[in-house]
Symmetry: C2
């Protein structure tokens, strides 16, 4: 069912500092900061040859990652995103196997403009998992 | 400097259960559990097309991940590993830019039989970073 690791999301307290670290020290291809108001995050994409890291910072007053940053003021790894071909088939298999889908269970359009679901960390050993239809 | 994401390491409280979840629900190619006594971990490799996830569980009495599991009893994402071509050049650049290397600063042979270094999470926004020479 799952294919590539689409991205690893890392929440950071200072996006400019984190982007500079990945660009200058790590020598990575780093995007400009992109505001995603619908998702309550500002993102910098670290484009690596086989996958990418997304550096996230809260955007706006009701960011879904504000709580994470309050709990982890230094930042930290937030979620891992796996690609799937068919998100509804993936959802049905997950539910059948007892994994909980966050929210109302229907795919939403994610930060890349594609359907996504988030899965309950308790069903994935403490890791927040996103699946994205590609 | 950095190339591919070599792996994402996820510490889990029950390796058999986590392996089964990734194999049966997620449909991933999952290895047998491999004990790595020198590294104090037992690992299951989740082989995805572009990278891999390593599910880790403490092995032995002085596992370097025992503390993480005690602090995060449900498990969680532990580190991200980036590939580099030349680990000594990478180390020198990191040190020059003020990033701290864990341990004595010399590369050790990692779980894949290749030279690795771990970098201080405080210099990477709360994320433990491993670099591996490939």
């Amino acid at each position: 069912m799952i294919g590539n690791i689409n991205h690893i999301a890392i929440v950071v307290p200072d996006l400019a500092e984190a982007a500079a670290r990945y660009k200058n020290t790590m020598g990575a291809d780093v995007s400009e900061a992109v505001d995603l108001p619908d998702h309550g995050v500002t993102t910098v994409f670290v484009n690596l040859p086989n996958s990418k890291v997304e550096l996230l910072h809260p955007y706006g007053d009701s960011s879904p990652i504000a709580g994470f940053l309050a709990k982890n003021p230094s930042g930290g790894m937030h979620h891992i995103c796996y690609e799937v071909d068919d998100i509804l088939a993936a959802r049905d298999k997950l539910v059948e196997d007892g994994a909980r889908i966050l929210g109302d269970g229907d795919p939403k359009i994610g930060a890349h403009g594609k359907p996504v679901l988030f899965l309950h960390p308790k069903d994935f050993f403490g890791t927040l998992v996103e699946i994205e239809q590609v």
